[in-house]
Amino acid sequence: MLRYRQVLSMLVLLSLLLMLSACTAPVAPGAPAPSASDTAAPVVTWYYYDQDNTDPEANERVGNFYLAETIPQFNEEFVGQYRWVNVPRDYNLVLDLVAAVQNNGDVPDIMRTGTADLPTFLLNNTVQDITDYVTNAPWYADLDPKAVEACTGPDGKLYCVPVSESPYLVYFWTDLYPEGFPKTTDAFLAKAAELKADENFALTYWGSTAFDGEGAGRYYYQVISSFGGSYDDGQGNMRLNTPENVAAVEFMREIVANGYSPEAAFVGNFEEEASFKDGLAGAFPTGFYIGYQYLNPLKSPTGQEFNTVSAQDMEDAVNTGVMGLAPIFAPEGATPGCHMDVFGFVIPNGAKNVEGAKAYIDWIMQQERAVQWVLRAGGGVPVASSVREDPAFQTDIFKQGAAALEASDCKPWYGSLTRIAEAKKLITETMFNLLKGNPDADIAAALAATEAEYNSNN
């Protein structure tokens, strides 16, 4: 018979073992237990979609259903060779991946990402150089060179595979802009004065510092790049104090001072969208994908409602001619500028099944698979020209989006900047202060101070 002391010692040992077991690698949530006969190597993906979430009202329902439908298809096609295991993540997956790679933790073999995250990945050595694989792939020649450039690091190597791209453009109500959205800044100001006389706002936009400065790549960059400006000098330094940028800020100040935009433009947390969705503001500069996917339900200035509360609302509004898409305005003779999001895949450092990851990408890049991925998991318009010709992308909304992309000079807002999280916060804080906080402040001095603050850490 065991003595009490022995029992106690065993209990202590057991608790110690339990704790140690907690420190070992966790089983990926959502990973099905392999059957005895299934020897296929897992290809682990990270998406912020959850294949097991069947809630038809879930925010990411489109992506959730996409995964639920396509995971079995992949597994069937690669039976005995690869098995797709998706680990659903929340929106912090960039942070999670950086931390996982740094700590030699469990990393996926492949992750869906946007190129706006690429500088962060490169700074932290999070993702693999996949130049050889991509440039030798059969689908490479078909890709939009701009998207390929967005996946290219400062060293000229490729670090991601672009699948879809989403330019920043302007969604506008044709009730308020029956002759189309103004092409020049002067025409816009004239029209804005007219709209104000009728108690309408000409436009609303992301003017706040919300989400740690997300606004830097949106309206602010659209206007600045349309004036020929940028945020960097091409050498990794921030350069804000330029005549073009000063002119752009002066123009944006005029919009605020004249009351052409609602107060809510500076609130954040998506309040800026509300007046556009309700038809009170005539236009909303945003990403093609964002507008398509998230601007719903809609009510036009004349009261027409679109309320399926899905991407269908925007599609219906465009198809019926109530809503239009256009490039943002630019000074006379200048080309409209815009930021472009490119979505695709990265293969992280530490990935266990790199060959499986490549097989997965090749599978996704097939025409039909790519169509589904862009429509339901990626967003925007396809990067591959052959996929863009698919009938699924011949609807009015995609045609107008593609036309706006063609008419604009789109590039990533961060240019050669590498610490983009820091940059975007500094830039939006400065822009907010110049437009709203202290509209009489010296623009050039404020821009110079901001660039000096960023560059001091270079």
Partner: protein, 314 residues
């Protein structure tokens, strides 16, 4: 303990107490000691661009932190927030507790109702208060937009107005309306708990002592200042301690009510930490700020303990 010793056959205490608390010690080491030490190590390191490797940089993160505008600005915001939050909460809690002590007919109902804000999460409370002041449709927005009350041309908008002539970027004074609104909302949230703490303390003050003081000619004011307040001072110290620590470390309400804005007007030190660590992914700098906040917390704990000890000596 004796019967345990006998049952286990241990005549002397030996290692038994250690083994009994050993699992708890392991848990504490795993979830508190290790992260603390790791954070200190992190504060002395920085990621080498391009390699993703942490390299030792000595005190560079602290130099960066103390030299940054964002840090001094957030300290000023935190100080203003704490001042308002602690003063209003303590004052209001004490006043409400005095009222509730009167044993009115519906006192139990009042106590139940007053506890409602406490059971709401910070994030939900922040979101609700935010809805009150959203421009265009917020319940209180027309009130604040009244030019007669809040100045020409359109009054103020809590979530977007920033005083135009602040002292400097490092010293953002006067504070933005959003920071004052954050104080009010945070006070509303914590008030039930602190009120109950003080009410509990008030109920321990012997009625006989109070009656004796009154018989000796003490006015109500004297009774309050000379008898009641000194007797509940330990609980007031605990409440103060709780408010200070909660005020420095709390981020939920800031996150959901203002998101640090407008601009950076409500970026308090805990929000700055979140921003540096989880948005900028600057783990070294976040480690340095964590160490600073920990020292601040330890300083406050030491101060409170000293105050309590001084009171006990009295």
């Amino acid at each position: 303990m004796d019967w345990i010793r006998k049952r286990l056959g241990l005549s002397a205490p030996g290692w038994l107490p250690f083994w009994v608390i050993f699992p708890a010690l392991l848990v504490i080491a795993a979830i508190q000691l290790y992260p603390t030490l790791y954070t200190i190590i992190l504060s002395l390191q920085q990621i080498e661009p391009g390699t993703g490797q942490f390299v030792f940089v000595g005190s560079r993160n602290f130099e960066r932190l103390f030299g940054s505008i964002a840090f001094t600005r957030s300290l000023v915001h935190t100080a203003i927030f704490l001042l308002g939050y602690v003063a209003i909460t303590l004052g209001a809690s004490f006043a409400i507790a005095l009222l509730l002590r009167q044993r009115l007919r519906l006192t139990p109902l009042y106590i139940t109702l007053i506890f409602v804000p406490w059971i709401i999460s910070d994030v939900v409370a922040g979101a609700v208060w935010r809805l009150f002041v959203v421009p265009d449709y917020g319940l209180f927005s027309p009130f604040f937009a009244n030019p007669a009350l809040f100045g020409e041309p359109n009054g103020i908008s809590i979530l977007t107005s920033v005083p135009p002539n602040q002292l400097s970027p490092r010293v953002p004074l006067p504070p933005a309306p959003a920071l004052l609104f954050l104080i009010v909302a945070s006070t509303w949230k914590i008030l039930p708990f602190t009120t109950l703490l003080i009410l509990g303390a008030l109920q321990t003050v012997s009625p006989e002592v109070q009656e004796s003081a009154k018989i000796d000619g003490a006015s109500n004011w004297q009774l309050l200042l000379r008898i009641i307040l000194p007797l509940i001072k330990p609980m007031l110290a605990v409440t103060l301690f709780y408010l200070l620590l909660g005020g420095i470390n709390g981020v939920g309400m800031v996150f959901s009510l203002t998101g640090g804005g407008p601009g950076t007007s409500t970026e308090v030190i805990s929000y700055l930490l979140y921003s540096i660590g989880f948005s900028k992914l600057d783990f070294g700098l976040a480690g340095a700020l964590s160490v600073f906040i920990a020292v601040l917390n330890f300083g406050l704990i030491a101060l409170t303990l000293k105050l309590s000890a001084a009171y006990e000596e009295q």
